[in-house]
């Protein structure tokens, strides 16, 4: 599974890095960026889903493995 923050949509609500601190981080402006090139480490899939399910701007994109 991979995650990606759509930088055009992200407005820095900060839900993803609060709910999934292993997968996202904040920059100095509060905008979110994915960690580890967006690769979700094993066992962190639930964090990834939570992040996507709580982004008001629909800026967190999940890519499930085929």
């Amino acid at each position: 599974m991979r995650v990606r923050v759509d930088q055009e949509k992200c407005q820095g609500h900060g839900r993803c890095y609060a709910l999934a601190p292993d997968l996202f981080e904040s920059d100095d402006y509060g905008n979110a960026h994915e960690l580890h090139d967006g690769v979700v480490p094993p066992g962190r899939e639930e964090q990834a889903r939570l992040a996507a399910a709580n982004c008001p701007e629909l800026a967190v994109i999940l890519e499930e493995d085929a």
Binding site: Q11, H13, A18, S26, G30, N54, C55, P56
Partner: protein, 401 residues
Amino acid sequence: MTDVTDESTVTDWATDFDHADPAWAADPYPIWEDLRERCPVAHSDRYGGVWLPTTHEAVSAVAYDTDTFTSRSVVVSNNRPMIPAPQGIAPPISSDPPFHHGARRLLLPAFSPKAVAALEARTRDYCRELLEAMGDRTEVDAAVEYAQHIPVRVIAHMLGFPEEDGDVFRGFVKDVLEGVDLPPEERFENFQRLDAYLQVQISDHLANPRDDLTTFLLGAEMEGQPLSPEHVRGSIVLLLIAGIDTTWSAIGASLWHLARTPADRERLVAEPELMTFAMEELLRAFAPVTMARLVKDDVEWQGCPMKQDEWVLLPFPSANRDPEAFERADEVVIDRKENRHAAFGLGIHRCVGSNLARMELRVALEEWLARHPVFELADPDAVTWSHGQVRGPRTLPLRVA
């Protein structure tokens, strides 16, 4: 609600609504529910013309459409603002692109998660002091004695304003946000008092620079130019006004809900780790802030014939209760895991202080519950709510064990 100069009582909310009406202040949710079903974008001739989208879809469409709508003023009143776009009266909330971007970026680092984390211990101390000051009384007012003080003290500290001036700040908040239906002359006088107070603080900071947001703004630059005095004052007004009654309302409304919902209160006490989700659900269900825009030019928008300089209210709390966007939208689901609520707005004007507000709300609830795990409404009829675009309890008598 003493300063409501109500001309008439609203009879049809679809064609004559007034967001300063006592019925809206007391309980706006049935009004929005009715409108979402029969008239998703309502109109009123009051305030020189106001539109009211009520569905999540329509509210977000306005919030994202910065070409059709200007943020030049975000508080609906009988006045139109004097300072034109793209800066507006209180940048960046009142600013349009492209000016907005730079004005916002100046403020964001002071409200980043890291910067806010550094304020947590101080905030926790404030909360404990307030709880301590209530002593052993079994009836306390959680709005007057607790919620209203927390954000005031934090923002006063950040701006470098006297922390004992809380009453003065709350007076300004009332003037700006609740005095919307006053005659223009009276509203103007209120703004002059605010301006005079700010001038004193700004002069003091110019003479004695220190490590706070006021000194920062006075020395800040955008594109190599210092900020105009109007920009500095406007941003300070924004931080002072927007940082206070919003969070005060969120803390109060959350305690109000927990006071009347023992199951949620008991669960939150037993499972403190639930706070992350509980807080967001309380923000969704009782979002305090309704924003506003002005129509830039005559336009037909989603079938509505909008005229230049008509207001558009953005009731994020109504969007948050839209059953098309949320399951069980009208219920508080204290452990809701999927929650894309819009309490802090949507699009480029997302609340600059949302990280700070969340920290204050979390700490205020944690400290309250640690001190008073058992509490209930002392008198449900004695609870009063602010009127206007920021809604929260202004008196909240609670019986504590």
